[in-house]
Amino acid sequence: MTTANQNANLANSERYRNNFLKEVEANVEEGHMVKMCMQCGVCAGSCPLGNAWEHSPQKIFMMIRAGKRDEVLGSDSMFMCTSCYNCMVRCPRQLPITHIMHGLANYAHRLGLAPKGQPTREFATLFWNNAIKKGRVNELTLTLRHYFRGGLVSGIKEALGMQSIGLGLFLAKRLNPMEIFGGHGVKDLKGFHAIIAKAKEIEDRKKGFSA
C-alpha cells in the first residue's frame, strides 16, 4: 500500500465514521443505489460465478448497510464479476449491480484494501495500463506480461502450456509477433494521455485521493 493510498484510506474512514453506506454513496460508482436493495437474492442466484465467491452482491449490499467496511473492501467477490450483466437485468429494483460491483472493486483497489495478489485485480490493472499506453490494446504484450507476472520460470511454463494455441492463432493471422515492437496505437497519444490525466485528476479530487 502506498502512502497516498494509506492517507486516503485513513481520511475517508475517519470522515464517514460509522456510516459506511454514506462513504459508498459518495465515492463508489453508482453507490447511491445501494440502499434500494430489498434483499431478494435474485442477483446471487443469477451470477455465473456464484459458487466462486464468498459474498453475493445481495450480501455485499447488506454488509455495506451494516457498516462492515473492512469485510466489504477486503472481499474478493467483486473481482469475480465477469461483466455478464445477468444480475443487473434481473434485479426487480433495477439496481445497476454490475456497475456497483465494478465501483466497489475500483474503490477497494485504490484504497489498497482489495485482496493482494487477486488474479483478476492484477489482470485488470495490467489490461488498463496496456490499453492506455498506446491508446489501443496490444494483445501480445498483454498476454506475455500476464503469463510472466509471477517471474521467469513460471512464465515460461505457462507460456509453453499455451504454445500450441499461440501458434494456431499466429497461423490463422490472429496474433502478430511483431506487436512486441509496438503495434497499433492512436496518433494523438499526447492528447489521449492528457484527457486521461485530467479525468483522473477530477475524479481523485472528488473521491479524496488527491494528496
Binding site: 460508482e29 455465473p48 460465478l49 469475480m80 465477469t82 461483466s83 455478464c84 450483466y85 445477468n86 443487473m88 437485468v89 434481473r90 454490475t98 465494478h102 465501483g103 472493486a105 475500483n106 483497489h109 485504490r110 488474479p119 483478476t120 485485480r121 492484477e122 489482470f123 485488470a124 490493472t125 489490461f127 488498463w128 495500463n129 490499453a131 492506455i132 491508446g135 489501443r136 490494446v137 494483445e139 498476454t143 500476464h146 499455451m162 500450441s164 494455441i165 494456431g168 492463432l169 490463422a172 493471422k173 490472429r174 496474433l175 502478430n176 497499433h184 492512436v186 494523438d188 492528447g191 489521449f192 492528457a194 484527457i195 486521461i196 485530467k198 479525468a199 483522473k200 477530477i202 475524479e203
Partner: protein
Amino acid sequence: MAKKEYAFYPGCSSQLKASASNYLVSTNSMCKSLDIKLTEIPDWNCCGASVGYCEGGELPRIAINARNFAQAETHLPGQDIVATCAACWLSARESKERLDGSAQLLKETNEALAAAGLHYDGGANVRHMVEVLIEDFGYDGLKAPMKKSLEGIKFAGYVGCQTNRPFGIVGESFENPLYLDKMVETFGGEALTGYDQKVTCCGGALAFSEPEKSQKQIRDIVESAYDAGAEMIVTPCPLCQANVEVYQSEINKKQGTKFNMPVLYYSQLMTIAYGGSAKDAGLNGQLIRAEKLEKIAGK
C-alpha cells in the same frame, strides 16, 4: 452513393492480425454486399473494455469513450457510431447514457476532453452492427442479396452476454433472444432453438485471470451445443468467439473431452450466403475449421 453510411468503431481486437481480425474481414465483405459504407472513426481509441473499471475508474473510462464520440461528431457528422465488438458497443453506449443523463458528468468529461482540444455535444447514436442489420435492413432486407443457402448446417446461436444485456436488441428478451436464430434461418441454416446455453457467460476476461472458472463456463457452452445436435456455433461477440473456440483444446487436454466445434461470426455466415469466398469470410482465421461452410463457399 452507398445505401447506408456509418461511423465505424472496429475496436482493438478487430485490427489487422489481432484476435478478431477475421470478424473485420467478414464484416467488410458483408457490408459490401449490403451496400453499407463504414468509415473508421479517425484515430479511435480503446473503450476500456469490461475489466477497465478496476484501475481506470469512472471518469477516465467515460472520457476515453467520449473522445471517440467527439472524433466521430467532428469528422463524420450525422452518422451513427457502429461497433462490431460487444464490449466496445457496451462501454460506448453505457458512457453515452451516463453522459446524456448527467449534466455534471458531461461538464467534467468536457473538461477532460478540452485537454486535447476536443468537445462532445451528445450527438451521435451508438449502435451495434446487429442492431443496424435488424433495424435498418430487416430480415427481408438482409435476405435480398443472398446467393447461396446455408441449408444442411445446424447452428447453435450463442448470443452470450454483452450484445444481449443490459441493452440488447429492441424487442428481444434477455432470457431467450431470438434474433441470431432468425438470422440463421434467413440464410437457410437450421437454428437449434433447443440450445440451452444461448445466453451463458463465457467468463469474459476471467478466461485469462481465472482460467479454471472460465473454462467451466466454456465447457457448458460447447457441450450443450453438441447435446442440441449443432455442427457449428455462431456468435456476435469477439470475446465469446475467441474464448469458446480457443480454449476447446485446453479443455480437451485437461478434462479428456473431444471438443472440435467451429465457432463463427454471423458476418462470416452472411458473407458465404452472399456468395463470398472462404477468404472473404475470413474462414482461414478459424482455429477449428468450419469445413461445411468452406464447402458451400467453394460451390
